[in-house]
Symmetry: C2
Subunit: 316 residues, 2 copies
DNA sequence: TTCGCGTTTGAGCATATGCCCACGCGTTGG
DNA sequence: CCAACGCGTGGGCATATGCTCAAACGCGAA
């Protein structure tokens, strides 16, 4: 009896679901057709969903991305996650994620109330800034998390802060320091001087941090860009470094190293775990380990990546 | 440019559809996520549907039935159509359709305003009547479309009208005539006498006609039940009869024959094309041709059948 | 540059939906 | 046998949705 009842109820649920989703009738119409109250029709439709009698299939590449993003968000407890379709023609292309980062920046900067945006390193971040829609927001503040003077004394071409400020009229705070100081003592001295302390103070209040994620291997961007020497890189690798965010090297568990270049680094250190919305932006097979570690260590609480990379992170 | 735009628009539509149907967000939430107005979010979801980016799949046997019913309704312009799941154990079982017929009768009779229900022949109709929920509706009227006296002079066991009246307290009008008269003249005389004319008048005002559909072959129910002789049956078949409704034989195009037993038949003739809601109830491979012809000829404008039969009708 | 045309946008409203509550019916346990 | 319980039901309300319409926008032509 109970089974019979359940069966007929599920039949009705299926009927209702069919009429609702496939035939496109309203629940009122369905109620009349099935000779029940509208409330019951609603329950049947709802039951149809609950019992998974009906499934939705999205026939579009985006679907997989949405799925991956949802899983990443769930798994790593992220406040924000976006996965863009992989570009088969250019697996390393940052264009896709840069567009999304720009969109995120646009959304943040659109606010009328003053916001503080902190920027880290990375090609994606730089490309994102180029794509931000110009908008006049003089009350916003843009702050750099990393020194913009490279080893040779020239200003780094990663002048993302300046670029973004240009587009928004916001006040900006580049960090007028070399990436690395020559010693721990000197670093500690420098970060206490007034202009730097000011930058730190602003950064500490940031509403959004957007940072690149670098892998620490022979092709590490920090080395390629000349911020750390080959020897420094190898030392950090020996110490267990597998990734870096704004220069701060961390190991495979996402723990910041307390040695090597990290002791001489002028960059503003990440919060651990991230409390401020801190979005990592990175793609590529080489970065999978670094991204996963950053996620596990709570160095970031948001991620923008592509389909291939997202897949790899989840499959680790 | 246009293509690029369209593509990104479809991407957004897919995103919106995913968020709406799969993640279960409201359109308001989606609007915020995608940085558009709620109205636009609604447009995106709607576009997602229109572009068939998303498809619904109902994982339930009922789904196929609903689909078949919709196609039958469309193809033959029916006012009502139901297809019940085929019972693999008993392909000829009328239980399923009887239940639906009973449901239809229930629904009709539940009305407080007086209704007139006309009943034809058929096992499904008889079984349906047995399943009708008793309800007190003394103002309704139940009228028979066929004579209830069989050839041997006894009252037919198809006393569906009486049974249904018992269950509803409705006034009922059996047709106190033999199924066939001995000649056309006699038939014409009989149908003009007062009690019969009254039945005809009531039947003409019926709100619902529920009729069985019989095939005209060697296993024709009208012959098995003794209403027509073997010779009469064969004559009708020779004249092109392939089916009958309330005894009225028709050909493969659904045209009523103007010869043979039809000239001596006392049953109330079908409207052609059916204007009153006239529901045919029948299942079985043997009846496919007869049902299809009745549909094509407009002898019925509604159908209750099973999955197998529905499939066969559509594949003809 | 300005004008006009077609498209897209967001406010607002009528409608549909989801959900809470009190009720009634059938079932179970004492 | 009755009371307590669970479950489904329908009414009613707050919210979400679909749609209309006027305004803004972009785009191409003069």
């Amino acid at each position: 009896m109970a089974a019979e009842n359940d069966k007929s109820r599920l039949d009705d649920a299926a009927r209702a679901g069919w009429l609702y989703f496939i035939a496109g009738h309203t629940q009122d119409e369905i109620a009349k057709m099935l000779q029940v109250s509208r409330a019951s029709a609603q329950r049947l439709v709802s039951l149809c969903l609950a019992e998974r009698l009906i499934t939705f299939r999205l026939e579009h590449p985006i679907a997989a991305c949405m799925e991956l993003a949802a899983r990443l968000k769930e798994r790593f407890d992220l406040v924000h996650c976006e996965v863009v379709p992989a570009d088969p023609a250019a697996p390393q292309a940052t264009a896709g994620i840069a567009e999304r980062c720009a969109n995120l920046l646009d959304a943040t900067l659109r606010s009328e109330t003053p916001v503080i945006v902190a920027l880290g390193t990375g090609r994606a971040v730089r490309a994102a800034v180029e794509r931000v829609t110009p908008i006049d927001r003089p009350n916003h503040q843009i702050v750099s998390l990393v020194g913009n003077i490279s080893a040779d004394g020239s200003a780094s071409f990663y002048d993302t802060v300046g670029r973004l400020a240009d587009r928004t009229g916001a006040r900006h705070y580049p960090m007028p320091l070399p990436f690395l100081m020559s010693s721990e003592d000197e670093r500690n001295k420098m970060v206490r001087i007034e202009p730097i302390a000011k930058v730190k103070a602003v950064a500490a209040k940031a509403d959004l941090r957007l940072v690149g994620i670098g892998q620490m291997d022979q092709k590490a961007q920090v080395h390629i860009d000349g911020f750390v020497t080959r020897d420094e890189l190898f030392e950090m690798m020996r110490l267990g470094a597998i990734g870096e965010i704004t220069g701060w090297a961390y190991d495979s568990k996402g723990r910041l190293l307390k040695a090597g270049t990290n002791k001489r680094l002028t960059s503003i250190p990440p919060e651990v775990p991230a409390k401020t919305t801190t979005i990592g932006a990175a793609v590529g097979a080489a970065k999978v380990t670094a991204i996963a570690a950053a996620l596990n260590g709570g160095l970031i609480n948001g991620l923008i990546t592509d389909e291939t990379t997202a897949q790899a992170i989840l499959e680790r």
